[in-house]
Structures are given as structure tokens and as C-alpha cells.
């Protein structure tokens, strides 16, 4: 159908990929797609005890471990800082350069209406980069991409926008057969898991991911699932390629 087999997931923090879309990425890899991962920050504010440098070093390593379990072709950190991702021309050019370098046919990121600004700005930057990367005279690294990629947004946190309204879902992907691998990938983020385990006395980190995946799965009559909404604004492709690819197996 198409020669381009590259997929790019760009999410804000080191464990967001495992929580929100790892099962779907594992399925795509199983179909022969080349999946590249990018995290916007090294999770440098994800600790109450360690310094920014210390926790960032740990979480970069955890992200790579998770990527190895997912089976990703690459995993890069774009080195923004937690709570400080901004929409400016420098950030726009950086993201466009990543899109040009990977040249994905399909991109996954966080939704435009999410619970915190890092998720919202990441969504805006990725959407913007998908568009700009195809403009030959845009001042970003690399050559202009030949086609605007498919763009999908993950679930918003809680499945609601800032007004408490349900956010849209255009496709829900069965990840029942991938849940153990997804769980193992998330378990790599031990710094976050350990913190929650100490605070709550239980393995909330893993259990919460599985509970959310089970809730999504229940919507389509399977054990576990991940939900997405497709960006259908001009000039992105309009057909639901994700559902098409993963429904027909």
C-alpha cells in the first residue's frame, strides 16, 4: 500500500509513551513498521528527593529501557524541561527537524486539550511540525518531507478536556495481546513506580495503567485497549489508517 513504514511517537514525559500508546506501537512493530520514539523532557522534575540532573539521568535511562522492550528503532530526548515546554520558533524548528529526519507516515502525540501545559504545548508543536516540515523554505534541519503524515492524538488524561467534557475518540485499538509487554515497558520507569509505591503502599503505577487500559477495552468488548482521535484538519490524510492497519489482522 505504502512504502513508508516509519511511525513517530512524540510525547511530553519519559513514561507517557508506555502509559498512553505503547500497546499500539508494539502492534505496529509486529506488523513490520519501524517505530521511533521521542520524549520532550527527561522528566527532570519527577522527584521530590533527587536533583533535576540526577532524576533526569535516571529517567533518560528508564525511557531507553522501555523503548528497548517496546522494540522501538530509536528513542530520543529533545531536552526540554518539565513544566517549561514552550511554543516558540526555536521549538517549532526543532520539532520540524525531527519530523524531517524520521519522515514518518504516521505520528502520535498528546491531544490538544489535556490536563497540563506540557501535554498541550507538545500537541501544538507536533501538529505544527507535521505541517511545517513539508515546507521547503522552512528553516529547520533536513529536507522537506514529501507528504504530510497521518496524525493521531492519544487519550487525554481522564478522557476529559479542561471543562470536564469527554474528549473524542475515533479509534480504539485492542492491545490485549500486548498488555504484558506494555506492562513490562512501564515497569522500567522504576523511579516513578517506586515513588508511588512508597506514597500509596501499593503498585499504583502499574495497576493504574492496566485499569485505564481495561476501561478502554471494555468499550469495545476486549480486555485491554488504547484510544486515539485522528487529526482530520487540512492537509492531513483523512482515512483512518490506524484502525485500518490494526483491524484487519
Amino acid at each position: 500500500m505504502m512504502n513508508n513504514k516509519c511511525v513517530l511517537a512524540v510525547l511530553p514525559h519519559p513514561d507517557d509513551i508506555e502509559i498512553l500508546c505503547a500497546g499500539t506501537l508494539i502492534r505496529l512493530i509486529g506488523l513490520g513498521y519501524e517505530v521511533h520514539l521521542a520524549i520532550m523532557t527527561p522528566g527532570d522534575k519527577g522527584s521530590a528527593e533527587l536533583t533535576r540532573t540526577e532524576i533526569a539521568s535516571i529517567r533518560r535511562r528508564e525511557a531507553q529501557e522501555g523503548a528497548n522492550i517496546i522494540g522501538a528503532a530509536s528513542c530520543r530526548c529533545l531536552e526540554f524541561s518539565d513544566l517549561e515546554i514552550v511554543f516558540d520558533n526555536s521549538a517549532r524548528r526543532l520539532l520540524a527537524g525531527i519530523i524531517r529526519q524520521v519522515d514518518p507516515f504516521l505520528v502520535i502525540t498528546t491531544p490538544p486539550h489535556d490536563y497540563m501545559m506540557d501535554h498541550i504545548i507538545t500537541s501544538q508543536l507536533v501538529r505544527d511540525a507535521c505541517f511545517n516540515a513539508g515546507c521547503k523554505n522552512y528553516d529547520a534541519q533536513g529536507e522537506a518531507i514529501p507528504a504530510i503524515p497521518y496524525l493521531y492524538y492519544t487519550d487525554a488524561v481522564g478522557g476529559v478536556d479542561m471543562f470536564g467534557r469527554n474528549t473524542p475518540v475515533s479509534c480504539t485499538i485492542d492491545i490485549t495481546a500486548q498488555i504484558e509487554l506494555k506492562t513490562s515497558a512501564l515497569a522500567c520507569h522504576d523511579s516513578q513506580r517506586t515513588w508511588l509505591r512508597r506514597q500509596h503502599g501499593m503498585d499504583d503505577y502499574i495497576n493504574s495503567m492496566q485499569s485505564w487500559s481495561a476501561k478502554r477495552g471494555a468499550k469495545i468488548g476486549v480486555d485491554y485497549a488504547e484510544a486515539f482521535v485522528q487529526h482530520r484538519g487540512h492537509p492531513h490524510p483523512q482515512d483512518d489508517i490506524l484502525a485500518e492497519l490494526l483491524n484487519r489482522v
Binding site: G46, D82, G159, N166, C171, E180, C188, W195, S208, V222
Partner: protein, 65 residues
Amino acid sequence: MRRFYLSGLGASILALLLSGCSHGNNSPAPAASGSMTPAQIQAIENNPKISPQMKAGVLAQSQSK
């Protein structure tokens, strides 16, 4: 709650995820077949953060495909 948020952004996502569940158009998507690559198996087996139960679960799920 403030300390919780500042201490773990990823963890806070999960806490918030569980606070609600939305509705939408669903496309039933059966699971793909396929097994793990040797690199994935090695990444799991060599990682001490993956408990023996998790390793067993991954192996069982991989073999059931």
C-alpha cells in the same frame, strides 16, 4: 496533592486517568499476531526491574500468539 503533582508527572497522569473515562466511536481491533524479537526478550530478561511474575506473563503471552 501539590506535592504529588510535583513529584511525579507521569504518576499524576495515571491518578488522573483513573478519575474518569470518556466515550467515543469505537472500532473493534483484534490483536495482531507476532512474537518478540531476540532484542526485546533480552531487554526483558536482563532488566532487574521486571519481576519474575512479569517475565513469566510476557513469555506466556508471547507463546500464546
